[in-house]
């Protein structure tokens, strides 16, 4: 009797989560493992450069610009290959390239050129795999359940981001501060991620649909609208580093705790990714996406106006995490079903590139505004711009 009752009326949360397809869980597990690996490297790379190689992190500043450019070009190209051929091999190639790049960093030693090449290879692998992976999540999810699928995937991904630095520092503690061991362990973890992908992730079922010529794909009005949406919102999205830098400069956060700030955002993101994904499926993805940007408007205003104290820091981090939880996966969940199955990966890659480019512009613009008029004016301009972009998008998406 009791058992029957339970079977008939499961808890709503449980029913929703059991609706997440195994393939999405598999992709989430791959991302989790891979993120542990990549965050291990991210956490110790500056230490390794400065303490073991005697290099200045500044010297690798150009790597950021270069990998941004390479990724922006290769992401749509990888998407196109995935559309024409298969998704899983392209994603696997991206994961494998990033894994091998860990050994590349080790092999490069102090040689700046090879070191930069290894770091760029790592980020290129990330750029190439993202769109095919997101296309697989979208095609694995039941129609109308994309928001939840992306939410589950992003939450698992963020767990990996949490564990990575802990794993890195555990390796350092166990080896008496041997940075090279971190790269070797990171490679082993990444290789395990590739094994999981090969064994457990299923490519999209059925034969590859006939792929329209590239001309037709890029002329798709829905794709342009998605790119315009991502870019329009992205250009007024204040960069993470600004948020953390401003929080630190407000005096409300002791210097020592500065590196903890991103974890605050990530914790909120982790907790809210699934509920907001479900909400997006229920009330509409565009609504949640735009609502998330309003949370960022609020965070920006709070940074500009509130008295610097602990409640302000908590408020900003809560809103910042809310922004990520209601936008990162939700944008993909919004875009994927609107794009034709035959060119979805290319389309998602273009949306991601549009967003990344707009955010790069935003970062430069905010820096210039800050230098010219001060931090508060820069924040107010960004908040006003983002509010206008949200209103315009609300009208355009109707």
């Amino acid at each position: 009797m009791y058992i029957t009752l339970r079977r008939d009326t499961p808890a709503p949360g449980r029913r929703a989560l059991s609706a997440v397809p195994a393939n999405v869980i598999a992709l989430g597990a791959v991302s989790l493992v891979t993120d542990v690996s990549s965050e291990m490297v991210t956490a110790v790379l500056p230490l390794y450069l400065a303490l073991t190689l005697g290099l200045t992190p500044l010297q690798l500043g150009f790597v950021d610009a270069l990998s941004f450019g390479v990724t922006a070009l290769l992401r749509p190209a990888g998407g196109r290959v995935a559309d024409r051929w298969r998704h899983k091999p392209v994603a696997a190639a991206g994961y494998a390239l990033s894994a091998l790049a860990k050994l590349g960093v080790l092999a490069a030693g102090t040689a700046l050129g090879p070191l930069a090449a290894a770091i760029i290879a790592d980020r290129t692998g990330k750029g190439v795999r993202t769109a095919p992976r997101d296309a697989l999540i979208a095609s694995s999810a039941p129609a109308g359940g994309e928001g939840l699928a992306f939410g589950v995937h992003r939450a698992m991904d963020t767990v990996g981001a949490f564990l990575g630095p802990l794993a890195a520092f555990a390796v350092l503690a166990a080896t008496g501060g041997t940075y090279r061991a971190v790269f070797v362990v990171s490679f082993c973890v990444a290789a395990f991620g590739v094994v999981l992908l090969v064994l457990y992730v299923r490519d999209r079922p059925g034969p590859t649909p006939p792929v329209p010529p590239l001309r037709t794909v890029v002329r798709d009005r829905r794709l342009w609208r998605m790119c315009a949406l991502a870019a329009g919102l992205g250009v007024f999205t204040i960069s993470d580093f600004f948020v953390y830098l401003l929080l630190q400069r407000s005096g409300a956060v002791p210097l020592l705790y500065f590196p903890l700030l991103p974890l605050g955002t990530a914790a909120v993101y982790l907790l809210l990714a699934v509920p907001l994904g479900r909400l997006a499926d229920r009330v509409g993805r565009a609504r949640v996406l735009l609502g998330g940007h309003l949370a960022l408007v609020a965070a920006t205003l709070l940074l500009a106006g509130a008295t610097p104290a602990a409640p302000m820091v908590v408020g900003v981090l809560l809103l910042h995490g809310l922004f990520y939880a209601s936008t990162d996966g939700v944008l993909m969940a919004l875009a994927a079903p609107l794009l034709p199955d035959s060119s979805r990966t290319t389309g998602l890659a273009m949306v991601q590139t549009a967003q990344a480019s707009a955010r790069a512009v935003s970062s430069l613009a905010a820096g210039a505004l800050w230098a010219a008029w001060g931090a508060r004016a820069a924040l107010l301009v960004m908040a006003a711009g983002l509010l206008a972009a949200v209103l315009a998008a609300a009208r355009g998406l109707r």
């Binding site: 965050e39 290789a191 999981l196």
Partner: protein
């Protein structure tokens, strides 16, 4: 089911490989009992991270180990500073330990970030350091340098000097992206030189600690080190081609610069052994080189970094 076995096998093989590598590379060197600073000795950090000293007259002779482990070390009688990267609590942090002539700890400062530079003023009164602070993947590409100064006489410490009044091209400069690094103090314990970077350019600044201001002197000068007669700074300048940095010496009166005879790239804040010779770390050894652009670099101390000038007891 077959998949699960394959996944398990992969986990075991990769886990075993990781464990074997970790146990293979785990570092362990016994530490020597602490000793005091000794006049006339040249101090440095050996390849294992331990502070040691040699006689400058016989740098290949016996090494006196101090038992102190640092990632960056600097000293000027009667003060030493030891920066260590602390990774045990899960975040990169730096501990700056200030030591007296007996290498006894007098002050301990907890800083965020990664040790980069350390220096002590010639009198031993002012201690300066630079750490790198980086975000994680949620703040891609973002980093800043935080430079701090401690006055050991008053005990007053500034953990980040970025709010010092900065003048570029004669006017007061306000910008968000101001980063300082590589402080070098003069004999008067208030004049210092340092590098500031803002809006993509770097400048040598001449700072006044007492008046809390810094004025740009020249662009493109990084990690300055003031000569004992205070007429020149040795510095590293961005170079084109295969090496990222070259060593040079700038005459502060004429603002004329001469490249030193070091063909290899050097990323270090050099020190002055005397008014005619600089020393710096390169590829794990400390080299000495004439400060006027002549001669050739010679190995001063093998397997060493963070050199100090020979200590002069006062």
């Amino acid at each position: 089911m077959k998949r699960a076995w394959l996944a398990l096998a992969a986990a075991l093989v990769l886990g075993a490989a990781a464990t074997v590598y970790m146990t293979h590379t785990a570092a362990s060197t016994p530490a020597a009992p602490p000793t005091s600073l000794r006049g006339g000795q040249l101090y440095f950090r050996d390849g294992g991270g331990q502070v040691a000293s040699v006689s400058p007259a016989d740098p290949d002779g016996s090494r006196q180990r101090s038992g102190l482990r640092c990632d960056r070390f600097a000293a000027a009688w009667p003060t030493a500073v030891c920066l260590t990267a602390d990774v045990t609590n899960g975040l990169p942090a730096t501990t700056a330990v200030i030591l007296d002539r007996d290498l006894r700890e007098t002050r301990r400062l907890q800083l965020a970030g990664i040790p980069s530079r350390a220096s002590v003023s010639p009198s031993g009164r002012m201690v300066a350091w630079t750490v790198f602070v980086t975000g994680d993947s949620y703040s891609q590409g973002g980093f800043s340098t935080w430079t701090g100064i401690l006055d050991t006489r008053t005990g007053y410490v500034v953990t980040n000097i970025e709010n010092i009044h900065l003048y570029l091209n004669g006017g007061r400069h306000h910008a968000a992206d101001v980063n300082y690094w590589g402080v070098t103090f003069a004999d008067d314990d208030t004049t210092f030189y340092a590098t500031v970077s803002t809006r993509g350019a770097t400048y040598l600044v001449r700072g006044d600690y007492a008046r809390w201001e810094a004025r740009a002197v020249l662009a493109g000068v990084e990690c300055p080190s003031l000569s004992p007669d205070a007429t020149r700074v040795a510095y590293k300048k961005p170079a084109s081609g295969r090496v990222p940095w070259r060593l040079a010496v700038l005459d502060l009166r004429t603002l004329r610069s001469v490249d030193l005879a070091e063909p290899q790239g050097v990323d270090d804040q050099a020190i002055w052994l005397d008014t005619r010779t600089v020393a710096y770390a390169r590829d794990g050894d400390v080299y000495a080189l004439a400060a006027d652009g002549t001669g050739a670099p010679r190995v001063l101390v093998r397997d060493a970094t963070s050199p100090t000038p020979p200590l002069i007891p006062r």
